[in-house]
Symmetry: C2
């Protein structure tokens, strides 16, 4: 109420708009009027509960959601795709031992040694509609030591295998940069050790996190989630407004528990902060996480773990621009250069909650809070329209077409024009009530 | 021991170096030999305890470390520098009320209204050796509404004051981006609302965090620290390897407790991860924090709070390059564009623990793990030599001169060439034992 008054007063103090564009004051009062459309929270919660249990039961029948270790396609040499899986230390170590034994026997028999390395060329990275993600086609090439063209790379491969073995034996985790620095002379520059690390991951059929080589993390999580990080019990309802940093090493995460009804995936930390400060998860039980922009590997692994173990629907709150959708695509289908690990990094079936291009008119976001799309934005938008993962969702195609037709984009923050807490008090509750996601 | 063997084996398998540069194997064995120089932890701890209590008693006498609110120079109009201070909501609100009442009275008396705005021009930002930080010289200019040149800016100022007032009344925190979006039409672009927000901060003599406008956070903390984040008790020894995200709103942090002997400030998250995974803080009680590169406002505020309340020595672990030193300078002296807030953002008396240019030879970091400085690196290094904050520390000048003479730089990660855990097992303990900081 006081917010309403404040905004009214502010609009009166401001300059009046004479254009045909919606005026700030009328847009604000319309936006405020949506508050009255809100049903009591209990009623919204009932439908969310139904949704959550539907998600739990449907996921049981979806192969794509099964933990890869269940089926372990990586040990199936007949499979036409390379799919790496999480493996425990013992399993990875014995796979390395097997490779090295094989090489040793080959040397003893006078044939020298060679590694069979899967090709990760772009032409081998394809999107599979059935699996709804990018995968790597199995096509191996030999990397013999006794060949001038490949001797160096075979040596690097052997060295990376030995380093990974040492890391696993010590039970620690290292970064790619650490790995590079252990033998700068051999590796030359980091792109070489990084590339061979990916090769090794494919060769062993293990995820990079199984190799205990981790990426730096930038994600944070807050809300109705309890888990153990390296044995420490973390209650994410008691992580203040700053939240808990998502751990870089997913294999140290265990004991995931939650009474949440959904996972809210947020593109940016500003919106995350609003949700955390307002303790949105106490009104609508949920887990809120963000990678603060472009998703990093640790956040993607963490989201997938949550989805797989808790079987909750995932709703995404991103900017209404082509990059918002691109971020969704990375979470859902993976990025091309890690296609071999897409099974572990991707979370299928994320719903696009908002901010969607159609929301701009629906919520009467004032014209001046919308931004014109640049030529580059339009180019990216058009490219997205050609992507399989967009095409298979009719709703998304329509939204993207709306965006490209109006040539307008908007950030989540644009909702602040209706009041700083409009996002948590009106927009999201109404979205949840209307189950307005696609 | 097994690590030693592994490295020896690896070196044997590698190519032998014939140059005059230290060979990897000999450097590695020398590095390993340093392990034997380590005294028992109890002995190192005794000296650290002496250091911590010395820091606690010396800081009592240092004005620079007093909480600015103690003296509140911001309400002293006779002061020749503008120093903003943390103020509680009631105080900020009444300051805004006073400004607005003054304006109202001025209008009623027929004189219109005008704001007296401190000038934040670069020429007003100077480094004070006594205070050891950059401050803003008090020089105010009038911003009258009844003047074509300033009418718009006066309106923007009034609007920002009213928005801040509303945020404070609601008891919430918002980002600069939120603020901008509440009136895009008036502000035009975000740089304008941001600039006026800084003006308002200076006018009111309050820090930006007192205005409840927060920056997004990217820092993490782990170790011997307990604090409350928005009322939630956080025990940073139980935050796994991921650590606790440093909260964006420092005023929600309270109840800081610690049995640490020092604060370890780390430049990068790779080193942070190593320290967190090895639970270094259990061996040497400390608080470990990082801003993951260039320090953000939230991390700087948090570090200062820790230093002020716990009176612990702060030791910094940064890359041995000009940017490592530049990062130290931002923590210690502030950045120029926030000079008016330097008292709250800066932490004086940070010791440069490592990796220092002299460490490269001292620890015999292999040549191939050092990188040649680029022309730009050298330019930045030479500029640093001219900075007052470097000049006043003879040790730093010498180190920087060494860096520029050898034209070599190295990352913290370069220590991984002696083993992944060399940093936590040998390098840092030896540094602490030898009190090797400047």
């Amino acid at each position: 109420m006081s917010e309403k008054k404040r905004r009214g007063g502010a609009a009166a103090a401001g300059t009046a708009s004479s254009s045909k564009k919606p005026r700030v004051s009328s847009a604000a009062s319309y936006a405020e009027s949506l508050r009255s459309k809100l049903r009591p929270d209990a009623s919204i919660l009932t439908s969310l509960r139904a949704l959550a249990s539907a998600a739990a039961s449907s996921s049981k029948s979806k192969a794509a959601l099964k933990y890869p270790a269940d089926q372990d396609p990586s040990v199936d040499p007949a499979s036409s795709y390379i799919v790496v899986a999480d493996q425990d230390t013992t399993s990875v170590t014995s796979r390395i031992n097997r490779l090295v034994l094989f090489a040793a026997r080959s040397i003893l028999s006078g044939r020298g040694f060679s590694f069979a390395v899967p090709s990760r060329a772009a032409s081998n990275q394809i999107y599979l509609p059935d699996l709804d993600r990018i995968v790597l086609v199995r096509r191996e090439s030999a990397r013999p030591f006794a060949n001038v063209a490949t001797a160096r790379k075979a040596t690097v491969t052997a060295r990376v295998l030995s380093l990974v073995h040492a890391v696993l034996r010590r039970g620690i985790h290292v970064t790619k940069r650490d790995l590079f620095y252990t033998d700068v002379k051999l590796f030359g520059d980091q792109s070489q050790s990084d590339a061979v690390l990916d090769d090794v991951s494919c060769m062993l059929g293990c995820t990079r996190s199984s190799l205990h080589v981790v990426a730096s993390e930038k994600g944070v999580v807050v809300g109705r989630l309890i888990f153990a990080d390296d044995g420490d019990r973390i209650d994410c309802t008691r992580m203040g407004v700053g939240g808990k940093a998502i751990p870089p090493n997913i294999d140290r995460v265990s004991g995931i528990e939650s009474d949440a009804l959904f996972i809210l995936l947020v593109e940016k930390d500003a919106a995350f902060m609003r949700l955390a400060e307002d303790r949105f998860y106490n009104r609508f039980p949920c887990i809120i996480l963000t990678a603060k922009g472009q998703p990093d590997v640790a956040t993607r692994l963490f989201l997938r773990r949550l989805k797989v173990e808790l079987k909750l629907p995932v709703l995404a709150l991103v900017d209404s621009d082509p990059y918002g959708l691109k971020i969704l695509s990375v979470y859902m289908c993976g990025s091309k250069n890690m296609s071999y690990d897409s099974a572990n990094l991707t979370t299928p079936d994320i719903k696009w909650l908002g901010v969607r291009p159609s929301d701009l008119d629906k919520y009467r976001v004032p014209e001046q809070c919308r931004l014109p799309m640049t030529d580059h934005d339009i180019k990216v938008g058009k490219e997205l329209l050609e992507e399989d993962f967009v095409k298979q969702n009719e709703g998304w195609v329509k939204e993207l077409e709306t965006m490209l037709r109006t040539r307008q984009k908007a950030e989540i923050q644009a909702l602040s024009s209706f009041g700083f807490q409009y996002l948590t008090e009106v927009y999201l509750p109404l979205k949840l009530q209307q189950q307005d996601w696609i």
